[in-house]
């Protein structure tokens, strides 16, 4: 069941994406309402992170398009924030917590400009929101997994965006951090911001999210949690894999086809 909305915050139209030439997302078509707190769920290898990355234009699309507030990504980058997976960077990098958080301000500053006092203030108040103000001077290698995730969230907060995309914000974090992060996300959602997060733990889906996207190589369901987070769709998402679909995917890769014929 795919629940479409008018004037969506995010619109994905007929999206097909391949990874290493193998199609990993087939014909995803969905809309997310403004202000939704949305979880993307599905088994390992279902294409959850791939979906986020293709929305962020980090992976080329085979077909389809993505619109955010009815605009192309390039027109609206300043209203978007992306929180990548914690493991995607090297935490041994020579930088302090404050250095990393201030990176969120680079887009507003533009090329050649030096960081200003105001950027520092914004970074410090973002750190305060995630409860990390005491760690501003700390070298990032000395942080725990949960603290690293908070730093990444703080970096996103400094951008003051309208829509957040978070790739597995709860992966490998302690319970206290998870609680703190979801509270921040809920507050943001109440302020009218749209939040889309990849999520793993089915237990907490109903308490965390008011909208759910269920993926398994294709879109199984997208809609309000109360309507789509049902045994039937869970069975369809997590139950029997669509073996035919993944076998065809393998075949496409082996034979060197393109997932969509070039027009």
């Amino acid at each position: 069941m795919i629940h479409h909305v008018e004037n969506p915050a995010l619109e994905i139209h007929d999206l097909t994406v391949s990874y290493d030439k193998k199609p990993v997302l087939w014909g995803v078509d969905l809309t997310i309402p403004n202000g939704a707190l949305c979880g993307i769920i599905g088994p390992n290898g279902a294409g959850k992170s791939t979906l986020i990355k293709s929305i962020m234009d980090l992976i080329p699309l085979n077909s389809g398009y993505v619109k955010i507030f009815d605009k192309e990504l390039d027109e609206i980058r300043k209203k978007i924030s992306y929180v990548p997976q914690r493991e995607s960077v090297d935490w041994d990098f020579p930088a302090s917590v404050l250095d990393v958080v201030m990176m969120g301000r680079y887009s507003q500053l533009g090329l050649f400009k030096r960081l200003r006092k105001a950027d520092r203030d914004a970074a410090l108040s973002a750190l305060e929101m995630v409860g990390m103000e005491k760690y501003a001077k700390r070298q990032i290698a000395q942080l725990s997994g949960g603290q690293q995730q908070r730093v990444f969230l703080a970096r996103a907060l400094t951008q003051n965006p309208e829509i957040y995309f978070l790739d597995e914000p709860f992966a490998g974090v302690d319970a206290a951090t998870e609680k703190a992060i979801i509270q921040i996300l809920k507050n943001l959602s109440e302020e009218g911001k749209t939040i889309i997060a990849v999520h793993h733990d089915l237990q907490s889906v109903e308490t965390y999210f008011n909208w759910v996207i269920m993926l398994n190589l294709r879109l199984v369901a997208s809609g309000p949690t109360s309507e789509v987070f049902t045994p039937q769709f869970l069975e369809e998402t997590y139950g029997g894999k669509l073996t035919l679909l993944s076998e065809v995917g393998e075949l496409v890769k082996e034979r060197g086809f393109h997932a969509r014929e070039k027009q």
């Binding site: 990176m103 680079y106 050649f112």
Partner: protein, 430 residues
């Protein structure tokens, strides 16, 4: 000493030029090297430095002159091509990055040597001196060459200064950089270009073979001293500049000594020193810290044992034989002798014939450790619900760690207890 004064008075303009040139080249390589280092692309510098050789040769063959600007253009182009080739190999074939690096390096260098040999045997009179690029010749940094290489070094430094914040972000988190709309492809191209330029200028001083050291060694050494990229760039620059001056001085004071290799030697010594002695990360410093902890543990354990023996006899200041200490708690003979000698020297115990006696200070210290041990045992049983017969080992470590502030909090939390889980008395604070 005289040579030193003579050297630094820059009486001879040539010395001034050579020193100025080597410093500038070293700094630009060091600064760019920091970025290759943190991007984990250290070997790229090595590939580029070898890959510029065919460019230099082709440039010479085409123009027939040794005009530094023409040679630099040739070097720049072939250095760039080597990077493009490396990327293309890793992206389009199953060959991984390490093999692609090795391939690019050897193929380009092979072609370079081939062309160089051809030029040397071609009988072209103006070719002499072209082989300085192989091993470098800082002393040749005069006149138009100096001007050319200095201009490029300055360009490199200015570009890094202007794009510092962007280079930092694309090195740390390129995906985030792309999402916030930085032109990461163009920035990568600029960063790669300044890397190639730094290499092209650096080989003038140290040559193709040693160039990688000029890029990476200052960065690697600087990384030991700081956790901030901005400071790392400054420290690496200072190391680079110092190596430049030292190299120039050594080759000036000892005529048969080459500048370039000495610059690399000095850098290596700095790197080794950092590796062993840098605070927080240096091996020697860490060993020293470990050694001090070991000694502290031994001393405190001995004092605790003294205190406990005194406790069971109700006489803390009685004379105790070395053997009796060994019976109360396992110490190796070496530990006993060494530890007791140290305690004696520090005034915690006194030697009385063959036996030992606690001093007032030794008694207080032993008492405090015993107290912390028992407080912690109580805390573990009460708050972590660990069985009383399982808490001893843990407390044996933690007793050495707890600070007076933590001690007060622990006491308060446990409501000023008097007995531990084994019903031993928790000695009062003094």
């Amino acid at each position: 000493m005289e040579t030193l004064i003579e050297f630094f008075s820059f009486e001879y303009p040539n010395i001034k030029y050579v020193v100025f040139g080597t410093i500038l080249l070293s700094i630009s390589s060091a600064v760019v090297g920091c970025f290759t280092f943190i991007k984990k692309k250290s070997l790229v510098g090595d590939v580029v430095s070898h890959a510029v050789l065919p460019g230099i040769c082709i440039s010479f063959l085409a123009s027939g002159s040794k005009d530094p600007f023409l040679l630099i253009i040739g070097a720049f182009v072939s250095g760039w091509i080597s990077i493009v080739v490396m990327d293309a190999i890793t992206r389009n074939t199953k060959i991984k990055e390490d093999a692609a690096t090795g391939l690019a390096l050897s193929v380009f260098f092979g072609i370079g040597i081939l062309l160089m040999t051809y030029i040397q045997h071609s009988g072209n009179a103006s070719q002499s001196g072209l082989d300085t690029f192989l091993f470098g010749k800082a002393a040749a940094l005069i006149g138009v060459d100096l001007l050319a290489f200095s201009i490029i070094a300055v360009i490199v430094l200015v570009v890094v200064f202007l794009f510092y914040k962007e280079f930092k972000l694309i090195s740390f988190d390129p995906q985030f950089a792309k999402v916030i709309g930085l032109p990461i492809r163009r920035l990568e191209i600029i960063l790669t270009s300044v890397t190639v330029l730094a290499v092209v200028t650096g080989i003038q001083a140290v040559g193709v073979v040693l160039m990688a050291a000029m890029l990476i060694t200052p960065a690697a050494a600087a990384r030991f001293w700081t956790n901030r990229l901005s400071k790392m760039l400054i420290i690496a620059s200072v190391f680079g500049a110092f190596s430049g001056i030292s190299g120039a001085f050594i080759s000036y004071s000892t005529p048969s000594m080459p500048t370039g290799p000495w610059m690399v030697m000095v850098l290596s010594i700095i790197a080794l020193f950092s590796f062993f002695f840098a605070p927080g990360k240096g091996i020697v410093i860490n060993q020293w810290r470990r050694f001090k902890i070991q000694r502290q543990l031994l001393e405190e354990n001995l004092l605790k044992t003294f205190f406990k023996i005194g406790e069971s006899n109700n006489d803390y200041f009685r004379e105790i034989e070395t053997n009796d200490i060994g019976l109360a708690r396992t110490f190796s003979t070496g530990q006993l002798t060494k530890g007791l000698r140290k305690l004696n020297a520090n005034g915690y115990v006194e030697k009385v014939g063959n036996a030992w006696r606690l001093s007032k200070e030794g008694h207080d210290k032993g008492k405090r450790i015993t107290r912390l041990h028992r407080l912690w045992e109580l805390y573990l049983t009460k708050y972590l619900r660990i069985a009383p017969d399982h808490v001893h080992e843990d407390a044996d470590t933690i007793e050495h760690v707890i600070t007076p502030e933590l001690e007060s909090r622990l006491e308060q939390l446990l409501n000023y207890p008097t007995a531990d889980p084994h019903d031993s008395t928790i000695p009062s604070r003094n």
